[in-house]
């Protein structure tokens, strides 16, 4: 053995990369991508004023190319639950959950679970791409019982 390192993720990326992570998280949690245009969401919000809404911010996140991402929003749904991912005023990524018949605590839990899955998908996409670029070959890849992803890679060096 050589070294064991534990890394805390930082989600710093452009909007397309964020969207890829959202799509991955949505797929893993059985959600469907609804739409990505903010203006449509504003109209929907006006008509659903009775719903509970909860916002969760992703720690250590930043959506780069801020001007491009300012009006972007991606919405995923599952039944009556709607999650929207967008960039807030400070450039951080946030997840907003809303749905009929759910308490704020339930919505917060759903939003946090999605934010975590999104972070996992973001890190997976990034690590997999960089390992491939570095010339590593994947030996094994599996999802563990605790929902963690284990990747074993190898390369030969002169």
């Amino acid at each position: 053995m050589s070294a064991v390192v534990i890394l805390t993720p930082a989600i710093v990326a452009g909007w397309p990369t964020i969207v890829a992570a959202v799509a991955g998280a949505a797929s893993a949690l059985g959600l469907v991508v609804k739409q990505s245009v903010k203006q449509d969401i504003d109209i929907a919000q006006q008509t659903q004023a009775t719903e509970q809404t909860v916002e969760v911010e992703l720690a250590k996140s930043e959506v780069v190319a801020q001007n491009l991402a300012k009006e972007k929003e991606i919405v995923v749904t599952k039944g009556d639950i709607e999650l929207s991912v967008s960039r807030d005023e400070r450039g951080r990524c946030k997840v907003c959950a809303k749905g009929k018949g759910k308490t704020k605590a339930e919505l917060k839990q759903i939003a946090e679970q999605f934010a975590q899955k999104m972070a996992q998908c973001f890190v997976y996409n990034r690590v997999a791409t960089e390992l491939k670029n570095k010339g590593f070959q994947t030996v094994n890849e599996e999802v563990m019982e605790d929902q963690s992803i284990r990747i074993n890679v190898r390369r030969w060096v002169d």
């Binding site: 534990i6 997976y124 590593f136 030969w156």
Partner: protein, 69 residues
């Protein structure tokens, strides 16, 4: 050629545990540095015995002389 193995575990919260194997000396720290740039920041780092092994293997030739007695 040396075989470099890396085991990466991405927890459900996105935290990453990296186990670098087969890389001797400071080479494993270069991997750690590279991965921390990709993922975020280092929270914890443990060096194992292999880190302290020399990077370049010294070649030892053993000559056995058989003397007829």
């Amino acid at each position: 050629m040396a075989q470099h193995d890396v085991e990466i575990v991405i927890s459900k919260t996105g935290e990453v545990k990296v186990h670098i194997k087969g890389v001797k000396g400071k080479g494993c720290l270069e991997y750690a540095k590279w991965l921390s740039k990709i993922v975020g920041s280092v929270r914890e780092q443990k060096l194992t015995s292999e880190y302290y092994e020399p990077e370049v293997k010294s070649k030892i030739d053993l000559h056995q002389q058989l003397n007829d007695e």
